[in-house]
Symmetry: C2
Subunit: 492 residues, 2 copies
């Protein structure tokens, strides 16, 4: 199985696709750009969702559900928003099929044309702010702290499993506030929730920052983001949190009576992460043998493989011990699987669980059993060690923690080694082409220069880091004065 | 607030709509037939989902996710299926909007017409069986026990909040098996899961049965169902589980190599419940003062209201006690809220929590506190009692259990009193018109008679109960011989 995986050096992009398919995470579907998330991949998503959902609830948010469809006219109400989303949306124009009277099978019934077309939501600001209009009258109705778990559709021309699909799963928070200050604090708070999740669960170090105007969400005043680095030195935006100002309140006429009895427009944020996180997870940690999943999110943290002996009694004893260990580990809340399939050879099994990225593999052989030990292999470093069965539950718990930390530290070291200062255009291009990673460079602050840099180098401004050091310098492209460096990279 | 609720006697249908809106469960949306599920209603759905999800996983199922869109040609591959769903579906025909060159705002870009139209899934058998074709080669790949939590769209002409909406949330299980027997057992097992959930959690007694051919799912060999009775004597189908035979395997050419090395078509089931369960819950238990929610699913099981005294110190002491009790109850895993808002009068609060169906209200007044007791009111019977603060956690736990049981027993008694035998057409019509409920009557077994009965009486065959007693008799409409009674009712 593992032999069929393209290596990262050979073709990073093919390695990624192979891994998603062979790791059993997702499949292509019959619908252009849409994927099937297979049970193993969906369990990973459930684990991500459950942790995030708890973090949202712990910060005072509640879930709700808004319609899949958005009337076409709603999209147009916020000028930047329609500009950003109209070019890539699925449009529902009819509500019925019928049998072709001329025998051509089932066809769209021309009589069932909608008066106004419906857009399959690419994001829900418009339908939600149209609803909030009815929910908000006075300052007493604020804040509204709502999140939605949903599917959205963006008709991307070039798609990649998890990273960019026409339909994807995500959560979108939409909050309403009485003051700009409160909304900005909310947007920053949720960015920090995302960053904490990325670092503590995905084992993915991220740069917290704010987007340049060109890279802002369509309709936002400010877009906060977390940016991660993949093993090929390309950046990946892992989550965004937007301060929307009063743009959507204006577009949908959402006002409230403040404590002084005056009408004001409501302030807004929105924030989201998606199944794209699974793509980030894969690209950041996996290797040429398969997935490497962080223990805190892995569908199964441990697989136990009893040796299949020619002696049936011995096999039975090994299987019993495997079940006994499974029980002990499960009682610690660990996610454990036993593979005692007698029709598959150990080598095949080892390769399979490596491909699937199980953090720990425990093998029990007859000699081990006699000595009261098992062989424990960790997926991240591939190290093996013999560990006493007595107290194994605690050893495994500690080892899982160690794997989680090690994955984070390895990614952090790689990331930190790949933030490089450039002071000239030549240096800038050279770093992008050879060393790769983030390039910290001066930029004159204009959208025109940003566009030109992108055109010439294929790199974009990933973010202006939060708490950035102010430092005077000259724009790498134009030589104009600049007050701070920003982070550039080629990106997914 | 409660005064604005239409009474059940006055207008049952209006009472229901009022209750959904004023109970804070859902709102109408700007999109025809689509609702907004508000946080309170969505929490109820999350509770339903979490319990069912666990029951599915405990019976060996895993979750996955399949595309929202279904190519038009897929629907047509199973003849009955397209007949059942083509008439009410949302059709995506284009993938882009553009600015109208003639200044008419944003319009559909005629150049962005899809080669093949996409249907927003009304149910996913076709896209899933098209995928299973790639997953199944040998008997070793079976069974596949997959479930999906998703949104679906059926373009219903007459919609009602929760009961029948154009878009709704549901789960759909889709399993694949090597034998007919195994598939039938799966369909029956999942029906029993639904029945157990309805009875133990929704407090809703159900009749387990099988549908007559006219009422079968489009594409099924047999449709199992659970049928519940609402307070107005109308029936409501609360869940279905289908034995699909080899129909979808045939349509999508899904074969497997059996143990004997011969190719066979795969056997299928599908089963689903939806946000409609929330409608059932409301209609079965609520009263003229508002929602009555079963404790096991209620978003909050207890509200604690400390009396607001004119003496600030006394108020502070009462609030402290409220928090102390909340903490004690939460440590038992109960869902508890304190309402110590000083701007609202107790009467207003009482009416609000009655409307929202909180199972238990605890009020703490100064005299109560001095006596070491609180006043506890249960929502279902409206009885109040004074209960000692010492050991209150256990008292409340027991009371919640009692409320859950009482709600079930009350509904069961009502249901059992509303299954009436009819032996003539006159009796049949009379029962439907005056007593309402289920009518147990003989039917000659033909679809034509079933249609005619529906046309004349507006009643349909809800189900042929499982383990039905065989009893010879004569069809109430045609007088033809019949071997068993079936259950008729007017239904939602």
């Amino acid at each position: 199985m593992s032999k069929e995986l393209t290596s990262r050096n050979e073709d990073y992009s093919q390695w990624y696709n192979d891994l998603v398919l062979k790791g059993g995470l997702a499949d292509y579907s019959a619908v252009r750009g849409c994927m099937v998330i297979k049970p193993y991949g969906y369990t990973l998503w459930e684990n991500i969702r459950d942790v995030l959902d708890k973090m949202f609830k712990d910060t005072g948010h509640v879930n709700a559900y808004f319609p899949l469809f958005i009337p076409k006219s709603f999209l147009s109400k916020e000028a930047d928003h329609v500009e950003g989303f109209a070019k890539e949306c699925a449009v529902v124009t009819h509500y019925r099929l019928k049998n072709d009277p001329e025998g051509g099978g089932v066809v769209v019934d021309p009589e069932a044309k909608l008066e106004e077309e419906l857009i399959v939501r690419p994001t829900s600001e418009t339908i939600i702010w149209n609803t909030y209009k009815n929910w908000i009258q006075s300052w007493r109705d604020l804040p509204i702290l709502v999140n939605q778990w949903a599917n959205v559709v963006r008709w991307e021309m070039r798609t990649r499993l998890f990273l960019r699909t026409a339909e994807f799963l995500w959560q979108e928070g939409h909050t309403a506030h009485a003051t700009a200050q409160e909304a900005i604090e909310e947007a920053e708070k949720m960015l920090e929730v995302y960053a904490t999740f990325a670092e503590d669960y995905l084992a993915l170090p991220v740069v917290r920052g704010v987007k340049s105007p060109n890279e802002r969400f369509a309709g936002a005043i400010d877009t906060y983001c977390i940016e991660a680095l993949m093993q090929d030195g390309k950046a990946l935006q892992a989550g965004t949190s937007h301060f929307l100002g009063q743009n959507f309140a204006k577009a949908f006429d959402v006002k409230f009576m403040n404590k002084e009895g005056r009408e004001e427009l409501v302030w807004a944020t929105s924030w989201g992460v998606s199944t794209r996180l699974i793509g980030a997870l894969i690209m950041a940690h996996s290797d040429d043998n398969g997935l490497v999943l962080p223990p805190r999110l892995a569908p199964f943290q441990v697989v136990i493989i009893p040796f299949i002996s020619k002696n049936p009694e011995e096999t039975a004893a090994l299987k019993d011990k495997a079940e006994e260990i499974k029980k002990a580990l499960k009682s610690k809340g660990l996610r454990v699987q036993v593979d005692d399939d007698e029709t598959k050879r150990p080598g095949f099994k080892f390769a399979e669980y490596e491909m699937k990225g199980y953090p720990i593999r425990i093998v029990i052989g007859p000699r081990d059993l006699a000595n009261g030990v098992v062989e424990v292999a960790r997926r991240d470093t591939k190290e093996k060690q013999s560990i006493s069965i007595e107290g194994l539950d605690v050893s495994i718990e500690n080892l899982l923690k160690d794997i989680q930390d090690n994955m984070y530290n390895k990614a952090l070291q790689y990331r930190d080694q790949h933030i490089t200062l450039a002071n000239t255009w030549e240096e800038f291009i050279d770093i992008l082409d050879s060393k790769t990673g983030f390039v910290s460079a001066h930029w004159d602050g204009t959208p025109e220069t940003e566009d030109k840099i992108k055109e010439l180098s294929k790199a974009t401004i990933r973010c202006i880091p939060l708490n950035n050091t102010l430092e005077e310098g000259k724009c790498i492209l134009t030589g104009q004065l600049s007050k701070q460096r920003v982070l550039f990279a080629r990106a997914y």
